[in-house]
């Protein structure tokens, strides 16, 4: 019988106190980063240039592992130089502070240089997940009026060139050559651009409140929402790297998330640089044996990964780890969806280390609730709010005031008191949807939780129909819209179907237009259409033809009912469904 709590021995991990017993304040965190009140704040300067002028200058900032296993490193000094060059090249093209620069490529060195170089000149960086098909790219670049896009020659040819004509704001496309050919005339070549750019400092002065990052996320309805974050968010990235990830300057850190999602940006790029650590970046997709060898060969000290990957490693079996211990590994954390207790125990049994679940969202910009370094762990729990974060459980019904629930173990919506520095500042161009996220001084997360008598939070489910597949948030509306573009489709309803590995996989229910007959050939055609338009990670894995879809009186598709049917639950009582 396993105990309900994993106790940490005293002295393990770091204390949550800042400095020499100084009480917590965001200003105190800022002082550690050398920030004075009202001073200029630039994410890239704090993450890179600050170290390039210190004793860390020649330390590797990133260690890149190419798909063929080749390793290459880039020091803080060299990263400062290349990001200055890219920043200067952007300026020469007329990119200005506040303009939106998109990045759309795999995890190669150029991606990191592009993100940090653009941040340095005050451009707003928006990363696109490399598995996106043309439609998600078109939609996001159009919404943000993207001015410049950095991508690879192959991704350009397959996914961007066909839609570029629909994106008049996009003045420049910079190609990283992965095909070995001559770049198309309407594009710029990365290497040429960097080789001819100036080494002069490119920094453009920004403040804590200037926009820095635009992360698109999915809701139940409507187009994806662009959550806008500011340069001041670095305070949260820096502080939480220590409290929730135990990250220290001497560490080798591996965040397995792609920078196309918020985790890969906040913790795959910014947090480890702010701390002054060395980050491992693997260009390849998940592969159990490869991951075990990376943990071992790269001497990873701190590992931040996701439940889907952990479940695949668990599935791979203990033989995978028979090669020996991982003496360097000190701390493991997880994010993306709730981590089940079984995985926490698996970590303890396999590595001698429990896995620390963390909770946050695109909108929060950084980790908010966590099984922190110094805290005991209740396996299966989300943990507790980090310093500077005040979380409540609230009851929240349309048309009624929000009510804070103090009774332990009562299910309600997780709400955070506003004012933490990495809070999103807008949904780009959608002020109404932004306002709907708040009630008074509370941000309403949309996640259902309960808090136990010890103040520990437990995830219960989503309050809406958003799908969590392999840690990625997928909006059913975006998928339904693409399915309905198909000439045979009358209507589509999309749900997350529970899956032991991915958490959920995407299943579509489709009604056909009159006189169109369902067939296997049509199913294949529809699947091909969805995959071509959306990319493999967003497209449905399963398509079912149905006679009709359930609707509300106002005409909305009742996805909850579709899900209840899929799960074989009573249709009348689906109030507790995710």
């Amino acid at each position: 019988m396993r105990p309900a709590v994993i106790r940490k021995t005293r002295g393990e991990g770091q204390t949550l106190a800042m400095g020499a017993g100084e009480p917590f304040s965001w200003a105190a965190v800022g002082r550690e980063l050398g920030m004075a009140p009202g001073s200029a704040v630039n994410m890239a300067w704090l993450a890179v240039d600050r170290h390039a002028a210190s004793k860390l200058a020649d330390k590797p900032a990133f260690r890149f592992l190419a798909e063929d296993g080749r390793r290459s490193e880039i020091s803080y000094r060299e990263l400062a130089r290349l990001t200055d060059r890219f920043g200067n090249a952007l300026k020469a093209l007329g990119v200005q502070k506040g303009d939106c620069v998109f990045v759309f490529c795999g995890r190669c060195c150029e991606l990191y240089v592009a993100v940090l170089g653009a941040l340095k000149i005050g451009a707003v960086v928006s990363p696109l997940f490399p598995a996106f098909g043309p439609e998600p790219v078109r939609n996001r670049v159009a919404q943000a009026a993207g001015r410049l896009l950095v991508t690879t020659a192959s991704a350009y040819r397959r996914k961007v060139a066909p839609i570029r004509g629909e994106l008049p704001s996009l003045r420049h496309v910079v190609l990283i050559d992965d095909l070995g050919g001559r770049p198309p005339p309407e594009t710029l070549d990365w290497q040429t651009m960097l080789a001819t750019a100036s080494d002069a400092p490119a920094l453009v002065s920004t403040t804590a409140d200037d926009p820095a990052l635009l992360h698109f996320t999915s809701g139940t309805t409507g187009a994806p929402k662009g959550a806008l974050h500011v340069h001041g968010a670095v305070l949260v990235h820096f502080a939480t790297a220590r409290w929730a990830l135990d990250l220290r300057p001497d560490d080798v850190f591996w965040c397995t998330a792609d920078p196309g999602w918020v985790t890969g940006m906040s913790y795959g790029i910014l947090a480890p640089l702010l701390v002054g650590a060395t980050s491992v970046v693997d260009a390849a997709d998940f592969d159990a044996a490869r991951w075990v060898s990376i943990l071992e060969n790269e001497g990873v000290n701190v590992w931040y990964t996701a439940p889907t990957a952990l479940r695949m490693l668990i599935k791979a079996g203990p033989a995978m780890f028979a090669g020996g211990a991982l003496p360097a590994l000190r701390f493991i954390a997880s994010v993306g969806e709730p981590l089940n207790a079984e995985a926490v125990w698996w970590g303890l049994e396999t590595f001698g280390l429990p896995i620390h679940d963390t909770w946050w969202q695109t909108e929060t910009g950084g980790i908010m609730v966590a099984n922190a370094v110094a805290d005991d762990i209740k396996p299966g729990a989300m943990g507790r709010p980090l310093p500077g974060i005040v979380a409540h459980v609230v009851r929240h019904r349309a048309g009624e005031p929000v009510e804070v629930i103090d009774t332990p173990d009562t299910v309600g919506e997780l709400a955070l008191e506003t004012g933490w520095p990495s809070m999103f500042r807008a949904y780009l161009g959608q002020p109404e949807r932004y306002r709907e996220c708040f009630a008074g001084n509370l941000y309403l997360s949309g996640d259902l939780v309960r808090r136990d008598a010890d103040g520990c939070f437990w995830f219960v489910g989503r309050g809406d129909d958003v799908i969590k597949s392999a840690g990625h948030l997928i909006g059913p509306f975006e998928v339904e819209s693409v399915l309905m573009e198909h000439p045979a489709v009358a209507e589509a309803g999309v749900i997350g179907k529970p899956d032991p590995v991915a958490g959920e996989t995407i299943k579509a229910f489709v009604t056909l237009k009159r006189a169109v007959a369902a067939s296997e050939a049509l199913r294949a055609d529809l699947l091909a259409h969805a995959r071509r338009r959306l990319g493999a990670a967003i497209a449905p894995k399963e398509i079912a033809f149905v006679e009709c879809l359930p609707h509300t009186r106002s005409g909305k598709i009742m996805r909850r009912l579709l899900k209840a049917r899929e799960l074989g639950l009573p249709e009348g009582d689906n109030s507790m469904l995710e």
Binding site: E67, D285, F286, R290, S469, A470, D499, A524, R532, A536
Partner: protein, 85 residues
């Protein structure tokens, strides 16, 4: 009678067409990395392996995933596994 290499190749292409019907299987270069040429996410890849188990009768352990880089590699690996059994 176990499947020969040509039958394995045909079955593999059929599995890919079923899971990723947008793929023009005729354009797959057999000695270049397979997952560079077709858009398969990690869930698709697990489904490919499941289909291999069902249709070809080979259970591929995680430790062997590295041997499945190109279409030629997959065919050779599956043929040798079938020959062993």
């Amino acid at each position: 009678m176990p499947l020969d290499q040509e039958q394995i190749r045909t079955t593999m292409l059929d599995i890919i067409r079923t899971l990723a019907p947008e793929t023009d299987t005729g354009s797959i270069v057999p000695d270049l990395p397979l997952r560079k040429q077709i858009d398969l996410d990690s869930m698709d890849w697990l489904n490919v392996l499941e289909a291999i188990r069902e249709r070809i009768g080979v259970d591929v352990p995680e430790t062997d995933y590295g041997k499945l880089g190109t279409l030629d590699n997959v065919v050779a690996y599956l043929a040798s596994r079938l020959a062993e059994s």
